[in-house]
């Protein structure tokens, strides 16, 4: 691990135009991603985890979305880059894979040609070289009989194999950062286990860092080094995977742990979280989790708590007044 992060996100906010007004779908997102590291963004539907990744790659149309804050990739600011400048980053430096591989593949083009095309877009090489490399990558993501299957179309593959092809395509340019948006959610557990193991191997072998989006704490445990728990557009807790699972601090994180039915332990009762995630048009003023929080205090409704470490020496940060006082925060400002 080097000193400077590969990707440093600061104060990132993505706003959408809804009913004539700009509404912030995410607020003050900040994290560092170091070389060879995987950070998981975990949270329920609508918490802003996918939007954060799409913002990093500049995939949201400017007409409806605008970005504030800073995304620094290897010392280079990405916010405010033109489309042409972004093109040099997208795919080659930062690649992305999605939940549904079929939508990322062209149904009328063989999978091999699609991978070879991705190679030739970003690098000067002959068609034969690109083909050889595409087959090597298919082999690498464990597609059996890669050379023969080069000429098959996406519909001839199973869901797991299609996801492998998309991963091969993303890897083809040897990106430094892979953004993986729920890549195993649509897959059966036995296939998910294989893909997670392969992503871990690829990250290690290619010195690649990964931002892994998931709603499953079980998947987080299997893939992540660091974890950012998101709720209603904000990071509420940020910690190493070991610390987060050993001692979750934010009431939302704790509630999540108590709401999952575990396969390894019999629970008498699950603790459902009352209520539901607020819509973007009705985010509460202070802490956004406060209305559903069992530990709610009066000051929680006032102003939003900052994401900060309870112990300044620890990298375990939490946005909750239970863990650091409002007075402390004001003193720090």
């Amino acid at each position: 691990m080097t000193d400077a992060p590969v990707l440093a996100v600061r104060g990132l906010s993505t706003q959408f135009r809804i009913g004539g007004a700009w509404r912030a779908a995410t607020r003050n997102i900040a994290f560092d991603l170091y070389e060879n590291q995987t950070i998981a963004l975990v949270g329920e539907s609508g918490c802003g985890k996918s939007i954060t990744c799409q913002t990093i790659l500049g995939l949201l149309p400017a007409a409806v979305a605008r970005t504030e804050g800073s995304i620094v990739y290897q010392g280079r600011e990405l916010v405010g880059l033109s489309d042409a400048e972004m093109e040099t980053v997208r795919g080659k430096e930062i690649a992305m894979i999605f939940q549904e591989p079929m939508t990322a593949l062209n149904p009328v083009m063989t999978v091999g040609e699609q991978i070879a095309e991705a190679i030739r877009v970003h690098r000067r090489c002959t068609k034969a070289e690109a083909k050889a490399e595409a087959i090597a990558f298919m082999d690498r993501v464990r597609i059996p009989a890669a050379a023969q299957r080069y000429n098959d179309y996406p519909h001839q593959f199973s869901g797991g194999m299609r996801q492998r092809i998309v991963i091969a395509m993303a890897m083809a340019c040897k990106p430094k950062v892979l953004l993986a948006d729920e890549p195993t959610t649509a897959l059966d557990v036995t296939i998910q286990a294989q893909i997670l193991a392969e992503l871990r191997d690829l990250c290690a072998n290619f010195n690649m860092s990964m931002v892994f989006i998931t709603h499953s704490l079980g998947v987080v445990a299997a893939i992540a080094d660091r974890v950012a728990v998101m709720y209603a557009g904000e990071i509420v807790e940020l910690a190493s995977v070991e610390e987060l699972f050993a001692a979750p601090q934010h009431p939302y994180t704790r509630a999540l742990f108590q709401a999952i039915p575990r396969v390894d332990e019999t629970a008498e009762n699950l603790q459902a979280i009352p209520g539901q995630v607020p819509p973007i048009t009705a985010f509460p003023e202070g802490c956004r989790f406060a209305p559903r929080c069992p530990m709610r205090m009066e000051k929680c409704a006032g102003r939003p708590p900052r994401l900060a470490a309870a112990d300044p020496a620890s990298p375990h940060a939490v946005a909750c007044f239970l863990h650091h006082d409002l007075a402390l925060e004001e003193a720090a400002e």
Partner: protein, 323 residues
């Protein structure tokens, strides 16, 4: 109420579907269900687990005759459903209900909740029309929705609330058995826990039995007493949930258990011995369907279908290791 006799008994149910293969080639056959036998006691929740395409949803529908089984018999409360005449079947349907993964696709978007429930009540002649409003308010309250929900349309509800509507509709006719087909799979965990709690409470209050179809072993552990594991149309193992998950007998159950994500970073990173994919059900492997992926496969596994071996303690497994 009888105690000894199971509420639902399924004997050797099979179902094949014709599948057009490629242009010019003869149609293929998918054995969606291959000699499935199981039972559900009164007040019991049986989990039916397996991966996509293993036939678990077909099973749920075939037991209710929403899909007609090719062979085999389904008995419900001492009555043979498979030979029941349509008018009798209609009466029995009040006692056999189903809820789906995506309630939105089973709700009419142009029908208000009150009209939707009134339709069910009138079709099944549950109560006189004058009592509908009271009954509807009661049902909504029972599933945790406000009375004002009656005047709203399905699109005005969140995913969890829509699942509550699906449950209210199933409850409206007073069922004894509910088939829940991935009923909580599409929901976020916090909502999933709410719906599981609701289903559990209803079970206690109404003495319901469930056939709970799911791919999530965590949900099975929490919600079910017994489970049956399916692989390519066949049941490979049945038993009490805790035994089945803590000491799985069938190599496929072991693989499924090992691959299920555990929220524990130390456990989750252990290398999982998972190989291969579920083969095409159009052309399943000979003998034991699982043999190409099985680390313990023997010669006989390629040739002969394993018979079910009773293992004591309510457990049974279809595997040559135990035969």
């Amino acid at each position: 109420m009888t105690t000894a006799q199971p509420l639902l008994q399924v004997f050797g149910v099979s179902k094949t579907f014709d599948v057009p293969r490629r242009i010019g080639a003869p149609p293929g056959k998918v054995h969606a269900l291959d000699d499935v036998t199981l039972d559900i006691a009164i007040g019991e929740t049986l989990g039916l687990v397996g991966e996509s395409g293993c036939g678990k949803s077909t099973a749920g529908r075939a037991f209710l005759r929403l899909i007609e089984p090719d062979t085999g018999e389904v008995w419900f409360d001492g009555e043979n459903l498979t030979t029941a005449i349509p008018s009798r079947m209609r009466t029995l349907r009040k006692r056999l209900q189903i809820i789906f993964q995506d309630p939105y696709s089973s709700l009419n978007p142009r029908q208000k909740v009150a009209d939707m429930l009134a339709e069910v009540l009138s079709v099944h002649k549950v109560c006189p029309r004058a009592e509908f409003p009271r009954r509807i308010a009661q049902l909504l309250d029972e599933v945790g929705l406000p009375a004002s929900a009656a005047d709203r349309f399905p699109h005005e509800f969140s995913g969890g609330q829509r699942q509550r509507l699906g449950i209210a509709r199933a409850l409206s006719v007073g069922p004894d058995l509910i088939v829940a087909d991935e009923a909580v799979s599409a929901l976020d965990v916090s909502i999933q826990a709410q719906i599981l709690d609701l289903l559990r409470r209803l079970k206690a209050e109404r003495n319901l039995s469930y056939l709970f179809i799911t791919h999530d072993l965590g949900v099975v552990r929490y919600f079910c007493q017994r489970a049956a594991v399916m692989y390519l149309g066949r049941i490979v193992e049945t038993g009490p949930v805790k035994d089945l998950l803590d000491e799985p007998l069938h190599p496929y159950t072991r693989m499924l258990r090992a691959a299920s994500p555990v929220p524990n970073p130390v456990e989750a990173r252990k290398t999982v011995q998972v190989t291969g994919e579920v083969p095409s059900p159009l052309n399943p492997p000979t003998g034991c369907h699982f043999h190409p992926r099985c680390p313990l496969a023997k010669d006989i596994c390629k040739q002969a279908r394993p018979t079910v071996t009773e293992m004591g303690g309510g457990r049974a497994v279809a595997c040559h290791l135990y035969g």
